[in-house]
Subunit: 209 residues, 2 copies
Amino acid sequence: MTDTAPASGRRRRDSVDRRKEIIDAAAAIFSEKGYAATSIRDVAEAVDILKGSLYYYVKSKEELLFEVIQEVHQGGLANLEGGRRDGSALDRIRSFVERHITYNARNLAKMTVFLHDFRSLGPELRAEIIEARDVYDRHLRALIAAGQAEGSVRATIDPRLASFSILGSINWTYQWYRPEGPNTIEEIASEFADMAVNSVRSPGWTGKA
Amino acid sequence: MTDTAPASGRRRRDSVDRRKEIIDAAAAIFSEKGYAATSIRDVAEAVDILKGSLYYYVKSKEELLFEVIQEVHQGGLANLEGGRRDGSALDRIRSFVERHITYNARNLAKMTVFLHDFRSLGPELRAEIIEARDVYDRHLRALIAAGQAEGSVRATIDPRLASFSILGSINWTYQWYRPEGPNTIEEIASEFADMAVNSVRSPGWTGKA
């Protein structure tokens, strides 16, 4: 009896690892071929198990898609929660951009699926993801508005449009970033943060950021 | 005999119009459902003709996709060719952004297909589109480098990264822009051009733009 607990613990851990491996493989294939063109069989072959055995871990292709998108969503929320809370609004915008760029670059396949294939989810799951994207967008708009209140961000800027401009610049990384490219993630994060901050900075503002 | 020329001219014109209508309908459906999930039958139903009759105008679903993407490519080249050639590099970056934003907003469905579904093309057509995107990217990098040479753009900026940042901000519009939204295309184009120019502007530069 004393042996079964560790053994079943190990089995559970193996099963969790296996599920994670399957979700990672699904993200890679969805991002390459697109969700609609991918079959459950493609995913099973990538992790070298039988299609029938795959159903032990996930119920459907849509569940795989939702898991990938859900993981990105959780990562995004963690980015917001871990962002800088002190300093000027420009400091906080810089921190937002750096964290988000870093996350995107490290999770390229999953970000691609998140941005491309969420339309393939059913209406309810889709609404959940749109809500998640709105949290992000509202957070950045609030930072821009705070910058206008303190004088660090140009007063004439529309926070909604500025937020879309900065998010676009960040999210677009999935289209061109490759780990083997000429720049480190840190260089890209720092350069993009500079450009985002300067794109909204008030000319009269003498603070650093 | 004198009647046949105008009649056949009219027929040809009708046929061209019909083909254009089919391509526009395909763009709308691809952008909504994704290319892989769309059938030729969906397109035929949207323009209210029989599937068999549709093959009189186009050979395949891939031809429809290529036509949509090709049209966006031509529009993009026209944007470059019509852009401002005088003034500082910042003036020319402003013109680039304004024209590109305006085009994207006016061709929402086709831009969505261009950005999402070009992976569904076969390798040759795909290479053609990647080449077209590179033309755009090289043009913007050259403007940024010209700005560094004249002193209007910060010397420390990497033109490659700055170009990706600005293109991302522009291209992302397809994700959020809706004609019924609160801003006119002109307002959006002007605001985005301001942000792009400020994101790279040299602090010491006293020129307008």
